[in-house]
Subunit: 378 residues, 2 copies
Amino acid sequence: MTDQRDLASLRAEIDKLDDELIALLKKRQALVQEASVCKSAHKDAAYSQAREAFLLHDRAQKAAAAGLPPGLIEDLLRRLLRESYKGVGPSAYACLKPSDRPLVIVGGRGAMGKLFASYFERSGYKVAIIDANDWDKSPAILAQALAVFISVPIACTKEVIAKVAPLLPPDCVLCDFTSVKAPMVQSMLEHYSGPVLGLHPMFGPDIRSMVKQVIVCVGGRNEEQGKFILEQFAQWGANVCKCSPQAHDQAMSIIQALRHFTTYCYGRFLSEIAPDLKEILALSSPIYRLELEMVGRLFAQDPKLYADIIMSSQQNIDLIAQYLQTLQPEFALISARDKAAFKRNFEQTRAYFGDYAAKFLRDSGALLAKVQDERVGT
Amino acid sequence: MTDQRDLASLRAEIDKLDDELIALLKKRQALVQEASVCKSAHKDAAYSQAREAFLLHDRAQKAAAAGLPPGLIEDLLRRLLRESYKGVGPSAYACLKPSDRPLVIVGGRGAMGKLFASYFERSGYKVAIIDANDWDKSPAILAQALAVFISVPIACTKEVIAKVAPLLPPDCVLCDFTSVKAPMVQSMLEHYSGPVLGLHPMFGPDIRSMVKQVIVCVGGRNEEQGKFILEQFAQWGANVCKCSPQAHDQAMSIIQALRHFTTYCYGRFLSEIAPDLKEILALSSPIYRLELEMVGRLFAQDPKLYADIIMSSQQNIDLIAQYLQTLQPEFALISARDKAAFKRNFEQTRAYFGDYAAKFLRDSGALLAKVQDERVGT
């Protein structure tokens, strides 16, 4: 009985310690909030790589000295940092180009348009939104525009560019957010003679914070005049990544079109053979559970979005065709149970991944441990 | 200047608070360690679902009352709980069937064999290991065995079963760890007339803790006599999941063989078109980064393991063939840019996923936020 009481009393002590933990987190949250207001007043960016790196390194050293297990304090801090990046309140961002002229978001009532409208507003810009049904009042708004962001579905982007471009003042920066860049930038350059900036935010509208999110910039014309826009993104904590429209589009054929196609096909096939998902999940290791989640999440979203992305260019379709042609030889090898050939191919591929293979194994291992954390045991 | 000093002093306060946090975690770790010793003395399992559920619910309520953001304390606690599950030290597990007779692991010098040997030893069992090169002393060991676990590569499992079975005492429980169950269980039943248990640990030897890991049990013969083994697994915190050998094998064709094949083919294709991985990663959203990690991690591992798994049965190869046949019609649809047909197929698949689609979107969203946490910004 003594020991049993001991477990109960130990648990009571843990409970008390967790109360202290919550109180400490609350104090920390208040300090972080104060710091973000302070940073905003000084027009410091929402995110500082140096501060994050210092925090992680400093706490890791102290935690190691205290005998805590490796990686623990870093994981906890990263999770806390996420909250502090989210925690920056309304109008907390510095405005890098104060102006009476509005930033105009065409398609601003879509989820992506709304997200950027909110960020620009919280940075002290005047934001005007134009949607399909308020076209009649748009000429007056566009004539004043400091910059215009075309944020409409891919299928109608060119048409909207053609409609908007003639109405802009000559120094307005014309931007688009489409996931295909070469044809859109070309279309903007053709219809407009002022500054042009092709942009592609590499995230969906459901993000909780702009910190560390990637926004690709492929340039266009007189990019100097659009510089304040990129600096404003950086102010929010985003990573602005520059490349050519062609390099962007080629990467997106791989990153988006091919990947979405294979995920879609795998999900389709599952629905045809229709295994019991509950049973499959019960039998799953963390890695398969994660992979199944990545497939299933696609089908919770808008089919139009995926159709648009996959079918947005002939380049995408050609790449998918090229991929499909490689499958039969691989299958022939499996079917012949040719383990030696499989090993050869496998090792060639490993050579291509180089140091990334081991890095990916390590990084994904850390992530799979987190999948396991979420699991409820029996 | 006042404000600038303010930011510095706020950061100093945060630093101090983090020192307190580390001290608190250290105290918590010591208490958890004491509790685990205490639990071990009482033969309590390493993992208690009720305690975990209580902790998460209780702390979430307190954190909400304190005004902390939703989800934060749960994420922090899950990460702490992982450490406490790992933290159970040597010989800390209760032994559910004390005996002078050894548990024998055939192939016990392989990584998986070593893992189970270590767990059984820390639970107070006598463990004997038989490897290829100590076959001459094995008859004496096997004649004493309380249970035998065949933990050798799939390709030689049947041969080893045939060799081991005649040497066992009639009440010994014969088990295997192979990832193909129907033929292995059949082979054990044919070669041995005593208790048989087909097992499949759904994890690799690199796990940090057995807590919440799945071990599939497909039964065999006189399962009652092997019950202590399953209870011992549960004592370590593992989830024992029972199903028929056939249901297991069908699920594994999908979970392992097909998935590994598609991942392998995608990696192979990438290595052929050979995009610059550094550039691809820079342009990647968290979801693609994660997907690329899941592909690359495969190639950091042993090709033999994957060849064995994919080519382990005709059932696997037939399933892969069936999958490949579905790709051409899907491609035809993409190629014709038939968005209506795509939408129809998409929605059929969504119906198959049912409530899981939204759940997967939610769960993976939480995980993708963690991928983003790890990212270094600019």
